[in-house]
């Protein structure tokens, strides 16, 4: 649904709350979602406050039931390395854990909107992504993590709160920077249960998500121009869409529609299921080596390169939008809460908003607040909402024409200066050049000649730079004037020109797996490991050879199920051919060298004969 931004403009004198309400998003959740945006005060009142000390012990600072917003922001001096955090769920005994898990299952069965993963999570990646999935699960045994029972207890606790008073809250902030007015919608959730509830990457107590609406002023009215959603794997300009981008952005009147990931609460512009990328933290040298290999694969071997990264885990962010919808005119409406730096809990609390699970890669640690990162440093999306979506480099549309005209004027003035300056310098260069030429053949002028030569070289560089600048300016000026003419004529840029990489749901075609493929995906890794064990037991001498054959058979067999046989057989064949080439070169290097030298000699003879005959 596309819409003219002007139609949604509101008076620029509108108070912040009215401004926030005018553009508050509609958030569509996935069926089965168990946490919804809530007010921080109810959450804080249910929490206890803790301090982790660098000597590896946790100290309770304020007990559960005693924490208030005032107590939360009390100054608490602490040593470097200590972490202040809240706990929504107190440490559970075995009985409490069992009860929480049972009650959670019952609650899930009672839900109106129930989640079904459907076919395909494991089958969406090949063997490698499934291996990463298995390794990732294994790392959870070693890393600090939020126990499943804690996540279940958080769900129950939140459900209890909603039962006593059902409220859907956003924390809104209006900030004005560089001619833009930004409406920030901060959504606070009591928990993120993406891993335990929806086969995702992580669980953590509490969650913060952000939607920004960017407006500019024209004729005493504020007009919406851009909207940006916080999302996994994407940064900067990729996060924003223009208000008139009907292809990607859905509007309900003047309200942008957000599709929230199940459990993760990441925001998407379109309903669907998104596959998470897992970038491996490889060192720079290794990355360079991989780039060289990729170039060799594409250019030397003429193979098709992978559009996506090779390391993809089969984690899916389900943002189906088939569950509860919250927002103006939806099943549930928002209760707004206006915040700013002056709000004590925003600026006064620098700790974590939930359990500090001591996960070294932070995936299971609770997040910091809207104004701070986990380590207490200021959060860029708070102090630089324009930079968050790379809007810091764009002026608001009404100002742009004026800036462009000024830029064109400055460039034209510089061109005139260059037109005067360059001939003078060029003429000077020629004069010195002539003097230099005249010194040739006079050995007694060697010293002056050397000095002049250096002068000529320096002046030549200067003249070249001036000429280069003029030519470059001409091209820039042409672009500036073209843009100015386009803007004056009322023509706008392509609304998607700024997008480098957009989040796209996994296309439906890739998800049509048969039950056989799904079963295969679930068991193939285990099957391979069992096969290797059998080989070690039955034929230990041939175990390595057998394992290689088994791997190739599994990869090719799976490619038939996934309808990628041609691509896979080609890759396997090329890899084997490269191994064989290496073997042949190692074994016959002398013959190869002789062959190359003979061929080179023949080529040179042929070239010379051609030259002689020409």
């Amino acid at each position: 649904m596309s819409s003219s931004p002007d139609r949604h403009a509101i008076p620029s004198t509108a108070p912040d709350l009215e401004l926030l309400r005018a553009f508050e998003p509609v958030v569509r959740f996935t069926a089965g979602e168990q946490f919804f945006p809530m007010d921080v005060e109810r959450y804080v009142r249910a929490c206890s406050l803790w301090q982790y000390h660098p000597d590896d012990h946790d100290e309770q600072v304020v007990a559960e039931g005693e924490l208030t917003m005032e107590k939360l922001v009390e100054p608490r001096p602490a040593r470097f390395g200590s972490v202040l955090y809240m706990r929504f769920v107190h440490p559970l005994s075995i009985e409490e854990s069992a009860r929480a898990l049972t009650d959670h299952q019952r609650l899930k069965r009672e839900q109106t909107h129930r989640f079904r993963a459907g076919l395909g999570r494991l089958a969406r990646g090949g063997l490698l992504p499934r291996l990463i999935d298995a390794l990732f699960s294994a790392t959870l045994l070693l890393r600090g993590r939020v126990p499943k029972a804690t996540a279940a207890a958080a769900v129950l606790e939140y459900a209890g709160m909603q039962q006593s008073e059902e409220r859907y809250v956003y924390h809104g902030r209006v900030v004005r920077q560089s001619g833009w007015t930004v409406c920030q919608y901060w959504f606070f959730y009591a928990g993120n249960n993406w891993r335990s509830g929806f086969h995702g990457v992580n669980d953590h107590e509490s969650d913060w998500e952000l939607v920004n609406v960017y407006l500019y002023e024209q004729g005493g009215r504020l007009v919406p121009e851009w909207v940006a959603y916080a999302s996994h794997d994407f940064h900067g300009a990729d996060l924003r869409r223009r208000w008139d981008d009907g292809g990607d952005l859905t509007l309900e009147g003047s309200h942008p529609v957000v599709y929230a990931g199940a459990g993760s609460h990441a925001s998407y512009f379109a309903a669907g299921e998104y596959q998470a990328e897992v970038p491996l933290p490889v060192p720079g040298r290794v990355r360079q080596g991989l780039d060289v290999l990729a170039r060799f694969w594409r250019r030397t071997l003429g193979q098709v390169g992978e559009g996506r990264g090779p390391v993809r885990a089969p984690f899916i962010d389900f943002a189906r939008g088939d569950g509860l919808s919250v927002g103006p005119g939806q099943e549930r409406e928002w209760t707004p809460d206006v915040i700013s730096e002056a709000t004590p809990w925003v600026s006064g609390y620098r700790g974590l908003w939930g359990l500090y699970a001591q996960d070294p890669i932070s995936g299971e640690n609770a997040p910091g607040g809207p104004m701070y990162n986990r380590d207490g440093t200021p959060r860029a999306s708070w102090f630089d909402p324009l930079g968050f979506a790379e809007l810091d480099r764009l002026p608001p549309p009404p100002v742009e024409s004026g800036l462009l005209a000024a830029e064109a004027g400055a460039l034209m003035r510089r061109q005139r200066e260059l037109d005067e300056e360059t001939p003078k310098r060029a003429s000077g260069l020629q004069q010195i050049g002539i003097r230099l030429e005249s010194m040739e053949g006079s050995p007694h002028l060697a010293a002056q000649h050397g000095k002049l030569e250096a002068e000529v070289a320096a002046l030549a560089i200067e003249v070249k730079a001036l000429r280069r600048e003029r030519t470059e300016n001409e091209a820039v000026l042409e672009g500036v004037l073209r843009r100015l003419r386009r803007l004056t004529a009322g023509r706008r840029d392509d609304p998607r020109a700024h997008i480098r990489q957009a989040a796209r749901p996994v296309p439906a075609a890739e998800m049509r797996f048969g039950r056989a493929a799904e079963l295969w995906a679930a068991f193939s890794l285990s099957l391979m490991l069992v096969g290797v064990v059998v080989l070690i037991e039955v034929a230990p001498a041939d175990a390595w050879a057998g394992a290689i054959v088994l791997l190739i058979v599994l990869v090719l067999g799976e490619s038939i199920l996934r309808a990628t046989f041609v691509r896979t057989v080609n890759r396997v064949a090329v890899i084997l051919a490269l191994v064989a080439t290496t073997i042949l070169l190692l074994h016959f290097w002398q013959h190869v060298l002789v062959g190359v030298l003979v061929a080179l000699a023949a080529f040179l003879v042929l070239q010379r004969v051609r030259e002689l005959r020409a």
Partner: protein, 139 residues
């Protein structure tokens, strides 16, 4: 590309010719064995005949630019190369001629333009941009 004649790359013709040689050799050897004119057992003769028929089919398919023949060649060479590489790595008894022929066939049939000629890939997916070095561009 239905109704459109695809140009056969020279490398494909060469691979087809190699397959024809293998087919002729295997069929002749197999028939002679089945007829009882060699020392090999009957099963070996039958296997040679089957191999010959397969090679003949793959060669004819390649000459007519059939996509299935490309897949057949690749599968055949994956088996052949796996066999030879494992013999080299674990049994120190490789057949280097077989290894070289298999490698040549894979590298001859793998380039993108050959796959496009076979109709296995579409031209719009091709990345034509390749870096060039031209003195005019320097400095």
């Amino acid at each position: 590309m239905p109704g459109q004649e695809r140009k056969r790359p020279a490398s494909v013709t060469l691979v087809a010719a190699l397959a024809l040689v293998v087919a002729a050799y295997s069929l002749t050897y197999g028939i002679l064995t089945v007829a009882g004119l060699g020392d090999e057992p009957l099963a070996s003769g039958v296997f040679r005949i089957a191999l010959g028929v397969g090679a003949l089919a793959a060669a004819v398919g390649a000459l007519r630019m059939r996509p299935w023949s490309w897949a057949l060649f690749m599968t055949w060479n994956v088996i052949g190369l796996t066999h030879q590489v494992l013999r080299y790595l674990f049994f120190e008894d490789p057949n280097y001629v077989d290894m070289a022929i298999n490698t040549f066939v894979v590298l001859a049939l793998s380039p993108l333009e050959v796959q496009i000629a076979f109709g296995l890939r579409h031209t719009e997916n091709v990345q034509l941009a390749r870096s060039t070095r031209n003195p005019v561009d320097s400095a």
